[in-house]
């Protein structure tokens, strides 16, 4: 008990003093996840929108697939990316294993299906509303997609935040493909796992608190956006 209390005090100090190791790890985490989010959004938003409004053979298969892939186990993603990037793998020549880029790839694979599936739902709902009007006005497909994405932007931001939350809290995949190398690929979740196993609770706790704060901030933003959307856009 004494030890735990002591650890909390040390953790608090690390945070308050913006400890260099802590800041580095948090910074890398945010950077990796933000990059993965940009990649996933660039793929997932248009793809989700197209799945919501286009009618083509195989569409239902893709919808079911994206829904199913939402629950991809992170360690499986990690293992797959590891095999792709390892020296013996097809992309081994790129030398990406155990780099932040490898972690970006893993997190992107993990959250792109989430963004596709949630975007599809959001855009399908709005399209239900708009479709007759768009058809009457003869709106071209690409204009319709852009208009739907823009008009659903508040809901889509909550989709992106959900993806961000999932990616930054994930540990299995980044551990496998990043390797938790100090100063290179050590992010919050892998550092917490390592420090805890070493019994170094202070840094683990400090990182845990920061991770919690980020989670609160993300969820708070979602709530704020929902509120803003309701007061601004809804009747």
């Amino acid at each position: 008990m004494q030890d735990f209390a002591h650890s909390f005090v040390l953790a608090g100090n690390l945070i308050l003093q913006a400890d260099a190791a802590l800041v580095e790890i948090v910074g890398l985490s945010l950077q990796v996840t933000a990059t993965a989010l940009v990649v996933s959004a660039a793929i997932g938003l248009p793809l989700g929108a197209i799945l919501a409004i286009a009618r083509f053979p195989g569409r239902m298969v893709l919808v079911v697939l994206s829904n199913a892939l939402m629950g991809l186990p992170p360690v499986v993603v990690g293992l797959t990316v590891y095999m792709l990037l390892s020296n013996a793998g097809p992309l081994g020549v790129l030398g990406l294993l155990y780099t932040p880029t490898a972690m970006v790839i893993a997190q992107s694979i993990l959250i792109t299906p989430i963004i596709i599936a949630l975007t599809r739902q959001v855009i399908a709902d709005l399209h239900q509303d708009y479709s007759d009007t768009f058809r009457s006005m003869v709106v071209p497909g690409h204009t319709a997609v852009a208009a739907l994405l823009w008009d659903a932007r508040y809901s889509l931001m909550t989709v992106l935040l959900a993806g961000f939350g999932r990616a930054i809290a994930e540990v299995g995949a980044v551990m496998i493909v990043g390797g938790n190398i100090n100063h290179v690929t050590r992010v919050m979740t892998t550092a917490i796992a390592l420090e805890t196993s070493k019994g170094e609770l202070a840094l683990a706790l400090a990182l845990g608190i920061v991770l919690l704060l980020i989670a609160f901030a993300v969820n708070g933003s979602v709530a704020l956006l929902r509120g803003a959307e309701r007061s601004l856009v809804r009747v």
Partner: protein, 254 residues
């Protein structure tokens, strides 16, 4: 259109009868959904640019008919031709429909209009936009989100958005239902000016007074068929069908 809309005041407009830019010919049109025949063999020719009022009891199929002839619904059978041509995007592009329940984009009033403007290759867009805002009396509300507008303001915006597309044919599905007298007057005023500019208008309304004020001919739809197609004077003074007479006397519902 903009020159027409800027026409000042309530000057009486003597609309001239001419040939419609897109004559409509409907043959044996049926529409069946969920085992129910909504339209059962509608035949109708609208050749002139006279303002056509489409009347009929609730559920008669007026809104469905507009959707069919605008190409938003597929008929179960029958033939629809505009100036001899079947429905296509090109035909639809020359038409505009103001829905019974208009759907506005979740954007500002101005953005709703500029979205529509951007769909066609118009020159001097910003001038047209400002003109449309002024004509619809929405200039002061231009930056308001469209979805927080009052019902009447939304109707006005929906009409302005349809007109800014410069249609040759304009479908209006109960454009003044639920509006106060001043808004009704304002919208009827716009309709009159659009009519005077030669646009073919097909107007659905339950308001017999409005139908008398605006209508030049009346199509009466009942039980999935056209039971009367008469000049407006004749229709209101001496309806030719028993159904129309009963409807005008408030005696039939379905």
């Amino acid at each position: 259109m903009s020159e027409v809309l800027s026409f000042p005041g309530h000057a009486p407009l003597k609309a001239r009868t001419g040939r419609s830019a897109l004559p409509l010919s409907v043959r044996q049109l049926t529409f069946r959904t969920e085992g129910i025949d909504i339209l059962r063999g509608v035949n109708l020719s609208l050749e002139s640019n006279d303002l056509t009022v489409l009347m009929g009891p609730n559920g008669a199929g007026k809104s469905v008919f507009l959707r069919l002839i605008h190409g938003l619904l597929q008929p179960s059978s029958g033939d629809i031709r505009w100036d001899g041509a079947p429905l296509s995007k090109a035909v639809r592009r020359s038409q505009a429909l103001v829905f019974q329940k208009p759907v506005l984009l979740r954007r500002s009033v101005r953005a709703n209009l500029s979205f529509a403007l951007g769909l066609r290759g118009f020159v001097n867009r910003s001038a047209r936009l400002e003109q449309a805002l002024a004509d619809s009396g929405l200039a002061d509300l231009a930056d308001r989100p469209a979805r927080v507008l009052s019902g009447g303001e939304q109707q006005r915006l929906a009409l302005a958005r349809a007109l800014i597309l410069d249609p040759k044919v304009l479908f209006l599905d109960e454009p003044t239902a639920n509006l106060d007298p001043a808004s009704v007057l304002m919208i009827e005023d716009v309709i009159g000016r659009v009519r005077a500019s030669g646009v073919k208008i097909i107007l659905v309304t339950h308001d017999a007074h409005q139908a008398r004020r605006l209508g030049e001919e009346v199509v009466f739809l009942h039980k999935g068929r056209v039971s009367e197609h008469s000049p407006a004077d004749l229709f209101f003074n001496q309806p030719q069908s028993a159904e129309a007479e009963a409807y005008l006397n408030g005696k039939i519902l379905v």
